[in-house]
């Protein structure tokens, strides 16, 4: 493969990383007492429970089944006793939460799933791998709210020729994917190879932060053996955004309002790759997530392996000595405020204690231009803010607001404290919804 130089993108800023507390903290378990496992991990029909209250379950045992290809089966993360049904919150589009029925699992025993290496992924062909992954009922840990097999199907449909594993992770404080690649690099890289084989793509790339390559040596060696290019890039925020990484690595610009598949690039994160390998090769269900707990008030910052269904607010309270002013689920730049009743799921890459960033009500725009100067999507953010205030949807459409990658730089920088990102995202959502309604 000829050496290529990778470019950069216009806009973007260097954020304070603030990762020192958790960067070298090995992934550790965290004892939990009760799980509430959502039956609707994806926005589709609910999975039907196959266990009744009082049943004893083993780790990895089926709890709820579905025939809907848009939903996934639900499995028990730990051994325990099935309790009642309840409601929990799971992440939803646009920084919000969605309610879901959930199974309570009590009297938990610290047991882990047994390895069942009954599938030879190295010699399987693409169709066999796809079938195996479909049986895995895996969830995507980033990107669209979907399961892995539907995502693979749409990638094949759009003739994706490049698969990128995005381990840039350059939002402040979050280190979950970094630890995963550093400690379980073999799983991640093999999982990436499995996905690449299933997709039959021409190029597979592993994009990592150039400041941390030292921790990824063994993963990079294995990647080389599996014909995966490891690429280290400078961590200018938001290179972790899918559209930006696609542009830097392939020089293709994602069509506004569409995913990277619109330019034939499939992108996954480290956690999804690891889950794909653990299922396809070892027969382990996707029931845990590496979560970074850090930030203000957290007395034991670190990266922990947390079973799905753990109450997120309880978990963060356990880790904190005092209640932080703001509790955040996900990245501090574009995560969501932790709601009471939210549980850890595949998207919980971090639970953070943050300072309250509210500095007073918004003031008028002074036209400093910092928002549009640093917007990686080159949007005229101040004008879009006007469009939002005047409910001028056509103006926003003409300014191509659907290209917004949701990085949060505009709000971060705005000296007038205008909620620019959430306004742009709302406009984007409205336009996309309108377009969806228009197409039969």
């Amino acid at each position: 493969m000829p050496r290529r130089r990778f470019g950069t993108f216009s806009g973007g800023i260097n954020l304070p990383a603030e990762k020192d507390a958790t960067l070298d903290a090995a992934i550790a378990p965290w004892p939990v007492q009760e799980l509430r496992i959502p039956l609707c991990p994806l926005p589709a029909a609910q999975a039907q429970p196959v266990v009744a209250p009082g049943d004893k379950v083993k780790p990895g045992q089926l709890l709820a089944r579905t025939d809907d290809p848009q939903q996934v089966n639900v499995y028990a993360p730990l051994a325990g006793v099935v309790g009642d049904f309840t409601d929990v919150l799971v992440p939803d589009d646009f920084f919000g939460w969605r309610s879901s029925r959930a199974i309570v699992l009590k009297d938990l025993q610290p047991a882990s799933q047994p390895n069942r290496p009954d599938f030879d992924w190295e010699h399987a062909d693409a169709a066999e791998l796809l079938e195996r992954l479909r049986e895995g009922h895996l969830l995507l840990c980033s990107g669209p709210f979907d399961n892995v097999s539907r995502w693979l199907e749409s990638a094949i449909e759009s003739a994706a020729d490049t698969l990128i594993c995005n381990v840039m992770e350059n939002a402040p404080l979050v280190t979950a994917d970094h630890r995963l690649l550093a400690e379980r690099g073999g799983d991640v890289v093999r999982g990436l190879a499995i996905l690449a084989k299933a997709l039959s793509v021409a190029h597979t790339m592993l994009a990592v932060d150039s400041q941390r390559t030292g921790a990824y040596r063994s993963a990079a060696r294995l990647a080389g053996a599996l014909k995966i290019d490891t690429i280290a890039l400078a961590p200018k925020y938001p290179i972790e955004a899918q559209a930006m990484l696609t542009q830097v690595l392939t020089r293709r610009q994602v069509v506004p309002g569409r995913s990277t598949l619109s330019v034939r690039v499939a992108m996954v994160d480290a956690a999804t790759c690891a889950a794909a390998y653990q299922w396809a090769a070892l027969g382990l269900r996707q029931t845990h997530r590496v979560v970074t707990m850090a930030g203000r008030g957290v007395k034991s910052p670190g990266n922990y392996l947390i079973p799905f269904g753990t109450d997120a607010a309880w978990l963060l309270a356990q880790a904190c000595e005092s209640e932080p002013p703001l509790r955040v689920h996900g990245s501090p730049m574009n995560g969501r405020e932790l709601a009471v009743g939210a549980v850890v799921g595949p998207r919980t890459n971090a639970l953070l204690g943050m300072e309250d960033s509210y500095a007073g009500p918004p003031t008028p725009c002074i036209r400093c231009g910092w928002c549009s100067d640093n917007c990686p999507a080159r949007l005229n953010v101040a004008a879009l803010n006007d469009d939002f205030e005047l409910a001028h949807l056509d103006g926003a459409k003409a300014r191509c607001v659907t290209a917004c990658v949701g990085c949060g730089i505009c709000t971060y920088l705005c000296p007038a404290r205008l909620p620019l990102m959430s306004r742009c995202q709302q406009l984007r959502q409205m336009i996309l919804r309108e377009a969806k309604a228009a197409t039969p």
Partner: protein
């Protein structure tokens, strides 16, 4: 786990949960502090009267803004820091010898006509301080009311032994000007009067009864280079001290409150215009490229004097980059700077407008909405030739 669960769709804080530390107020306060540097130079060379004029100007702007807000309750107008900054900038552009009612009138007009009727910060088209300054020129000049000699031929500077404490109103003409450092005030006179450098330079380019022999001869009449750099010559309160303006301006560029392109392009365009635009020779005809007419050393000095003497630097670092009235993107700001500098220098060379660069900035402010159309292509947006029909 005793708390009631949050309802889906409940109002939560929206990301990002991190904020950069700079608020609008911080920006305005830093610019205000930086503008105090030229003001300090003004106080040094023009005495305590400057403080009074500045105080009147700032107080007028803040007061008018408050009253206007009380009357209209438009939230965009409750920005007293911005009003104070406009007052200070207005004061910097005024001559140090004007009576008290001049900054008062300028301040009222700056806020009411320059800012308030447009709807406040973020909406006005012309830089309010310059609107006030222009109004002062129009109101207190010959056709209307010529009590104040805004265009008087010689402007005062305090003598070395009377700086800060002297009264700029007690003037006598300097008999033979050598250098500011050799000026000594005696008796009740604190200041001495000199023709402004702009006036001397203008004799080279405008119709004169007795055209100057050569550029070199004209340059010899000007204050020394050192005086021009530190600001010891007649001019507006904050216009003269190039050193103070440059230091403050570079700091603002470093803080990213001023775009270096704009200031740089403005100065560059003015310098190039001065170097190329024709001057009158003794014979009365025009000759292009004054940079080279009498050798490059004289030409270079000529250009440097044209750039430093007058209000160009203050315009380039404080008045043109005012955020609301300048274009937003870097290329548009560069073009804006080029237009301001070029037009300003042409006005300075060939017209008798007393405030050429301010007038140029105001004229270019009018073009800002057009220049704002210059935008980079949005990520992934089709280029025009790729657009589907």
């Amino acid at each position: 786990m005793t708390q009631a669960p949050t309802q889906p769709g409940a109002v939560l804080t929206k990301p990002p949960f991190l904020r950069a530390p700079e608020a609008s107020r911080t920006i305005l306060l830093v610019i205000f502090a930086c503008a105090c540097l030229p003001l300090a130079a003004g106080v040094f060379f023009f005495g305590w009267r400057v403080i009074i004029l500045t105080a009147i100007s700032v107080a007028t702007c803040v007061g008018v803004e408050s009253i206007y807000y009380r009357l209209t309750r438009q939230p965009a107008l409750r920005r007293r820091t911005h009003a104070a900054l406009m007052g200070l900038l207005l004061a910097l552009t005024l001559p140090p010898f004007v009576p008290w009612y001049v900054p008062l009138a300028g301040g009222v007009i700056a806020i009411v006509i320059g800012k308030a009727i447009f709807g406040g910060v973020g909406h006005f088209l012309w830089q309010p301080a310059l609107v006030g300054r222009l109004a002062v020129v129009v109101l207190f000049a010959p056709p209307l009311w010529s009590v104040v000699e805004l265009t008087r031929p010689a402007w005062p500077v305090l003598a070395v032994n009377r700086v800060i404490t002297g009264d700029i109103a007690n003037v006598r003409p300097a008999e033979r000007y050598v250098s500011w450092r050799d000026t000594q005030a005696t008796g009740s006179n604190d200041a001495f009067e000199l023709p402004t450098p702009r006036k001397i330079l203008r004799e080279l380019t405008t119709d004169q009864a007795r055209p100057p022999e050569s550029i070199g001869e004209q340059l010899a009449k000007l204050p020394s280079a050192w005086d021009i750099i530190v600001g010891a010559y007649g001019g507006g309160i904050g216009e003269t001290c190039s050193l103070a303006i440059l230091c403050a301006g570079l700091y603002l560029i470093y803080r990213n409150y001023v775009n270096g392109y704009l200031s740089g392009m403005m100065i560059l365009a003015a310098a190039v215009t001065a170097a190329v635009a024709p001057v009158r020779t003794a014979a009365g005809d025009f000759r292009w490229l004054p940079l080279l007419i009498e050798g490059s050393d004289v030409g270079f000095l000529y250009v440097v004097y044209q750039v430093l003497a007058g209000e160009l630097l203050l315009s380039a670092f404080f008045l043109a980059p005012e955020m609301t009235s300048r274009p937003v993107t870097a290329p548009a700001q560069g073009i804006f700077g080029l237009l301001c500098g070029g037009l300003g220098m042409l006005l300075a060379l060939y017209t008798s407008i007393p405030i050429p660069f301010y007038a140029a900035v105001l004229a270019c402010n009018t073009l800002t909405p057009v220049l704002d159309g210059i935008r980079p292509r949005v990520l992934g947006q089709r280029r025009w030739w790729q657009k589907k029909s």
